[in-house]
């Protein structure tokens, strides 16, 4: 348990030493999402309709952006070896790294999403639904991303490979996350979508750290 906390705190401290690098995913998220009105035209009705999809796709891509470095840095400088032989289990390492990744990429997205919602003319309630969806969905992206990142350790040009492994697995999150807001906007209850997102979160929280741990043991 001590090891888990130590790794988590160290990752947060490392991010604080390189603030520009740490903020990159959020900047990408905002910039990419705000390009859409220029591309598809400024009609408020259409923007409002496609907003949840845009926010979710951009959130997905932005959290993929930071996956490559999740284990690669620790792998190349030998920190990962030290973590794995230290008596801290590989599972604890995986949980710590996923939590750190979510705190640095998922949480900031969640916090800036209302701004994007307003930009696209979404109503306050709909923004609430969007945020709840992101709260349930973004941890799934970090958990699945951890598996992809650990599997590709030691290989070259991993960015695309990670995308190919992880993106297909993330599609259900995208569907139910964006679907919750769309359902709410046509007057249906979004609870069903939330239950499904919650189920995905539970499933990946139980399975992904185990898979990541095995991948780490193989790769190191």
């Amino acid at each position: 348990m001590n090891g888990l906390v130590a790794i988590l705190m160290r990752d947060l401290r490392l991010a604080s030493r390189r603030p520009t690098e740490a903020l990159m995913p959020v900047v990408f998220f905002v910039v990419a999402a705000s390009l859409f009105p220029f591309g598809v035209g400024p009609e408020p009705a259409m923007l409002k309709q496609i907003a949840p999809g845009i926010v979710w796709v951009c959130a997905l891509l932005s959290s993929m952006l930071s996956l490559g470095g999740m284990y690669a840095g620790d792998y190349s400088d030998g920190s990962l070896e030290q973590m794995l032989i230290s008596g801290t289990s590989a599972l604890e390492v995986a949980v710590a790294k996923c939590t750190a990744h979510w705190l640095m990429s998922g949480l900031p997205l969640l916090l800036v999403s209302p701004v994007l919602g307003l930009l696209f003319g979404m109503e306050t309630d709909a923004i609430g639904v969007l945020m709840l969806g992101l709260l349930l969905g973004t941890p799934v992206l970090s958990l699945l991303g951890g598996v992809g990142s650990a599997l590709t350790l030691g290989l070259r040009n991993t960015a695309i490979l990670i995308l190919l492994i992880v993106l297909p697995l993330c599609i259900p999150v995208l569907i139910f996350g964006a679907g919750a807001v769309s359902a709410y906007e046509v007057g249906l209850a979004p609870t069903g979508h939330f239950y499904l997102l919650g189920a995905l979160l539970l499933l990946s929280a139980l399975g992904a750290p185990l898979a990541t741990a095995s991948a780490l043991r193989i790769s190191v």
Partner: protein, 212 residues
């Protein structure tokens, strides 16, 4: 007292190639063991197996008669230093050292850490990010982990003398002696000859599979 690691018919593969002839050895407490072999003979691979990072291809490795995976006290005794230092560029020497020791479940006061860095001669650089340090200084930061040890440790060190100056080499030998006197043991590789000090050094030679 009297811990023993025993290897029987140990072989290690890299890809399809078997690296060395089946190996039998015993590492006892109070022993210094110099692992020797030519480049590519599998020294690092063997050290990684001993450290539990990878599995041997065949044969078995036991700690006090128990298989390595079941030996719970082994992890606590093991201190492994690989080619890569395990330091983060953006953390200071103190922070790195604190992190690496906390991982092993020991929390040292900053005075202890500072004293260890003092001993390895990098205390004046303790607050600098390690990316600002030279290769030798980084090595000295890592070697401060050896100076922090108080119990009989099982040290597995890959080229600990790399990038060190003469004074550094002497210091590491001194640390070896201290560990051996506490009843620990050291398994290391080195390209430079180590003078036999108070403790005789046992040599373990790796012989390649190919006839040269």
């Amino acid at each position: 007292m009297g811990d023993v690691m025993r290897a029987q018919d140990l072989t290690v593969r890299r890809g399809a190639e078997v690296l060395f002839k089946p190996l039998n050895f015993e590492l006892r407490s109070g022993q210094l063991t110099w692992l020797r072999g030519s480049n590519g003979s599998g020294k690092t691979s063997l050290l990684r197996v001993v450290a539990g990072l990878t599995q041997a291809d065949s044969g078995n490795l036991t700690w006090n008669g128990e298989p390595m995976s079941a030996a719970s006290d082994y992890r606590a005794r093991l201190l492994y230093l690989g080619h890569a230092n395990g330091l983060k560029d953006d953390l200071s020497a103190m922070e790195s050292l604190q992190f690496l020791t906390t991982l092993r479940g020991v929390r040292h006061s900053s005075e202890r850490l500072q004293a260890a860095l003092q001993r390895t001669g990098v205390a004046h650089r303790r607050k600098l990010a390690t990316r600002m340090l030279s290769q030798g200084q980084r090595r000295r930061v890592v070697l401060a982990r050896l100076a922090l040890e108080t119990g009989p440790g099982f040290w597995v060190l890959d080229e600990p003398f790399d990038a060190l100056d003469d004074a550094g080499v002497a210091l590491v030998q001194e640390l070896f002696q201290e560990n051996v006197q506490r009843g620990g043991s050291v398994l290391f590789t080195s390209h430079i000859a180590i003078e036999a000090a108070a403790t005789p050094i046992q040599e373990l030679r790796l012989q390649g599979m190919k006839v040269r």
